[in-house]
């Protein structure tokens, strides 16, 4: 008898310890179709959609999560646009912005009354596990995309999950489920076929916890956006400075390599003509964790540094310097106008770097709408060598100017001339 009881207990224990039966995409869709909505940004005058995305119920049932970039237009022109949701059977209502996490592209919205049952959130399942992204692709109605979890991407500062599935425009802000129907993240972006990105749900949980009652006006919103971006970027630069920087040798200079897991360095040497009388080597390093700012500015938080080495035994000094000067003209890649940023302010120095003289320029420009945010461009070109040239270009966008100086200093101090 005892042995039968023991066997029964062992069996029960076995049942209770085994995973809950996995749900398929059909079941997940059915469970959540009334909890996932289309998020619309509408013009107050025309009542027509200006942009669309997806969102889902979280928190106390009256809150809805989406991407910041879905409702970014409202930040710029809150008097012109407002946010609304549309659900199954045409259920709709207006939403108010109550929380932002600009760095992770999240926004928290609130309806005037409860909308439904909140979706439960869960940590990331193991790599390779099936995950399901829901949303409203291309304004065609709610759908679900099946894919697998590719894991947290350290090159995005752990702020993105790789989703090996297909996300399409309009699905941004929708939930990504595990096979238990729990949200493990929020759809955010796609690179190309079946390479998409999800924001981990922990950032959304943090946002729900710290959400405020809302924002009083557009100035308030922009201040908050600027504050968050600057806080993120300053912390990012501090992380960069705290890292051990690997060396990278480029001919006669030892330089900082990829200074963070978020940075990737590529050989960017231009293919030269077979009859070129010089050699040119170029390495370009960029980070991957760009921050969406708004409809006009698109992305900030871009860190790019490039190294160019130029040498020739065939060109005379004047020929060499004509070529060298023509190459020394990098700019920040962005399409901006006077409504977005100020003009650049630049100054020139001749700096001693590892016993070598470098003609350096430091430029900054300020954002019109976002107080304290700047774009910074630094260049340093080796001088005094007849047929050897080298220059560094370092650019950063959407940063606190003062916070970039220690980074530039470390770059220069890390650079070593190899005789």
């Amino acid at each position: 008898m005892l042995s039968r009881v023991l066997v029964a207990l062992i069996l029960l224990a076995g049942v209770s310890a085994s995973p809950v039966a996995a749900l398929d995409s059909k079941k997940i869709f059915q469970l959540n179709e009334e909890r996932v909505f289309q998020i619309r940004v509408l013009n107050r005058e025309t009542g027509k959609k200006s942009s669309i995305g997806s969102g889902f119920i979280v928190g106390d049932g009256s809150q809805m999560a989406t991407n910041y970039h879905v409702i970014g237009q409202v930040i710029l022109e809150p008097d012109v646009f407002y946010i609304s949701y549309v659900g199954k059977n045409g259920r709709e209502g207006e939403l108010k912005l109550i929380g932002l996490d600009v760095a992770h592209d999240l926004a928290l919205l609130r309806a005037d009354e409860p909308i439904g049952e909140a979706i439960r959130m869960s940590p990331l399942p193991p790599r390779g596990a099936p995950i399901f992204a829901m949303g409203n692709p291309l304004d065609l109605g709610l759908s679900i995309a099946v894919g697998t979890n590719g894991g947290l991407l350290n090159q995005t500062d752990d702020s993105r999950i790789l989703f090996s599935g297909s996300l399409n425009p309009g699905m941004s802000g929708g939930p990504t489920f595990n096979d238990q129907g729990e949200a493990i993240g929020i759809n955010v972006a796609t690179a190309r076929n079946d390479i998409s990105f999800i924001v981990p749900s922990r950032f959304l949980s943090d946002l729900i916890e710290r959400a405020t009652g809302g924002f009083s006006d557009s100035g308030d919103l922009k201040l908050e956006v600027a504050r968050q971006v600057l806080a993120y970027e300053t912390s990012y630069i501090e992380q960069l400075l705290a890292n051990d920087w690997p060396d990278l040798d480029l001919r006669q200079f030892r330089l900082p390599g990829a200074i963070s897991p978020t940075v990737r360095c590529w050989d960017n040497s231009a293919k030269l003509s077979a009859i070129a009388r010089y050699k040119r080597y170029q390495i370009r390093c960029t980070n991957q964790n760009h921050v969406y700012l708004d409809e006009d500015n698109k992305f900030v938080g871009r860190l790019v540094y490039e190294y160019y080495w130029l040498e020739s035994d065939e060109l005379n000094a004047i020929q060499f310097y004509n070529l060298y000067q023509n190459l020394n003209k990098d700019q920040i890649e962005s399409k901006v106008d006077r409504d977005i940023v100020s003009n650049f302010s630049c100054e020139t120095w001749f700096i001693d770097v590892s016993g070598q003289e470098m003609k350096s320029n430091l430029c900054r420009r300020e954002y019109v709408e976002y107080q304290g945010m700047s774009d910074v461009l630094f260049t340093a070109a080796l001088t005094g060598h007849k047929n050897r040239g080298f220059f560094i270009t370092l650019t950063m966008t959407g940063v606190d100017y003062a916070s970039t100086l220690p980074l530039i200093q470390r770059f220069l101090e890390h650079s070593e001339w190899l005789p």
Partner: protein, 318 residues
């Protein structure tokens, strides 16, 4: 009875007609003593009667476009004072006495002195050759790939010969229209001089950019060249080669320089920045020089960082 001369001016060119008979008729009809083929001139426009007391009577005969005598419409004028200005339709004329003083003789540019740039054609050849050398040198100093003589020849033909040639042709035609003369040799000499001067100054001011670690020398040069030096060079040509009056020369110089200067200035980033007040590009000192002559001192990284903290914020455009 003193002899009279009728000076008829057409497009800056004067024609002189002695009035020897007692009565001279002027008009478009072929039975006149002096025939003016201008359509604004009447068939019988006026007649000039000479008297024994050295006075002269001018009688208007035209109903359409009547003769203006000394800038006034009047049927006739008897006068002993010369010169008398006449407007016959749109033809300008003056009645002069034979002893009317002519302006002093203007010396040919360079005279016949072989040492003067405009004095002998070998100077023209030397200057043109210098331009070709400068054009070739420019190609050579920017030839980063393997050097080919055929490429150099093409470049010099396109950049130097064509540039100088077009200016010579264009400005010579203009000169012909203005003063009814061809001054091809002087024109080639002058344009070659201007071409050389431009290159010399452009390189000089570029070197100054590096010396001062600033962009103002080149900017000042570009504006100064198109707004001052080029019009002045043209005016000097018009005064000394074409022998036009100074005031007229400067006005013409501005008009001639404008089609060259205006597009060049309008395309300059400095003017666009002035007009638009906004640029998305950072205007930093990217000039580099093999001589590496600069007035700014070399600083340590720490000093640079210290000074960089004071870098002023960018100015917002209006």
């Amino acid at each position: 009875m003193a002899a009279l001369i009728l000076e008829i001016s057409t497009r800056g060119l004067h024609r002189y007609q002695p009035l020897e008979s007692e009565v001279t008729t002027i008009g478009r009809a072929l039975d006149n003593d002096i025939i003016l083929s201008d359509p604004t001139v009447a068939p019988h426009h006026l007649k000039i009667i000479r008297y024994g007391d050295d006075s002269v009577e001018i009688v208007n005969l035209a109903e359409v476009n009547p003769t203006r005598i000394n800038k006034q419409k009047q049927a006739s004028l008897v006068t002993g004072e010369l010169p008398v200005n006449l407007e016959i339709g749109r033809v300008q004329a003056r009645l002069l006495s034979r002893d009317y003083a002519v302006p002093p003789t203007r010396q040919l540019a360079g005279g016949n002195s072989p040492g003067h740039l405009f004095g002998h054609s070998y100077w023209t050849v030397i200057l043109v050759l210098a331009c070709l050398v400068i054009g070739g040198l420019e190609f050579y100093l920017n030839a980063y790939n393997s050097f080919k003589w055929s490429d150099l020849l093409k470049y010099v033909l396109r950049e130097t010969v064509l540039t100088i040639g077009l200016f010579v042709i264009g400005l010579s035609i203009l000169e012909r229209l203005l003063v009814n003369r061809w001054e091809i040799r002087q024109m080639v000499t002058s344009i070659s001089l201007v071409y050389l001067l431009y290159y010399f100054l452009a390189y000089l001011f570029e070197a100054l950019d590096y010396l001062f670690s600033a962009g103002w020398p080149s900017t000042q040069f570009r504006f100064g060249w198109y707004l001052t030096l080029l019009p002045c060079a043209i005016a000097l040509y018009l005064i000394h080669i074409s022998h036009l009056k100074k005031s007229k020369s400067f006005v013409l110089a501005i008009l001639i320089a404008s089609p060259i200067a205006v597009p060049s200035i309008m395309q300059s980033s400095e003017l666009r920045a002035l007009l638009d007040d906004f640029s998305s590009s950072a205007k930093y000192q990217n000039s580099l020089s093999s001589l590496n002559l600069h007035l700014q001192e070399r600083v340590s990284i720490e000093t640079f960082i210290e000074q960089a903290q004071q870098l002023e914020a960018g100015e917002y455009a209006d």
